[in-house]
Symmetry: C2
Subunit: 84 residues, 2 copies
């Protein structure tokens, strides 16, 4: 029970983590200090997380990682669009 | 078996994701485009992940998140040090 709550808290914080970054990049249009490697490695990891969630049939893992993946994908778009 | 491999791949990519960011920030000393919110939310999530790993007694989750947490913590230090 307590494990489940802590697990959900971990998932929620990771899930929302890229939201302030996306907002900042969208507003400032400055992305040069952000590493493309960070974004790409995170995206690849997230795809493996989604596959893992499908294989073990865990809806929370799938949903959390799809939401997270969308924000990271949008960050990749902003990085490519605004990078000098 | 295949789930385990995919789970490890997911963990490895997330674990190494902040390494290129840390290298970039260390080299360029430019961190203003990086959101403090991203770093802090990721750190909090990682702490919950470590607690979760301890509660369910999963050594891989603990180790992966400690290594990841160290890189994110170092990124926080670089962000505070070089932020204008």
């Amino acid at each position: 029970m307590i494990e489940e709550i802590i697990g959900y808290l971990a998932g929620i914080f990771i899930m929302i983590s890229f939201i302030p970054q996306v907002i900042k990049s969208y507003k400032t249009k400055n992305v040069s200090d952000i590493s493309l490697g960070l974004i790409v490695a995170t995206l690849i990891g997230t795809v493996f997380w989604i596959i893992y969630g499908v294989l073990i049939e865990s809806m929370p893992i799938i949903i959390v990682n799809i939401i997270f993946g969308i924000t990271v994908l949008y960050q990749l778009y902003l990085k490519i669009k605004y990078d000098k």
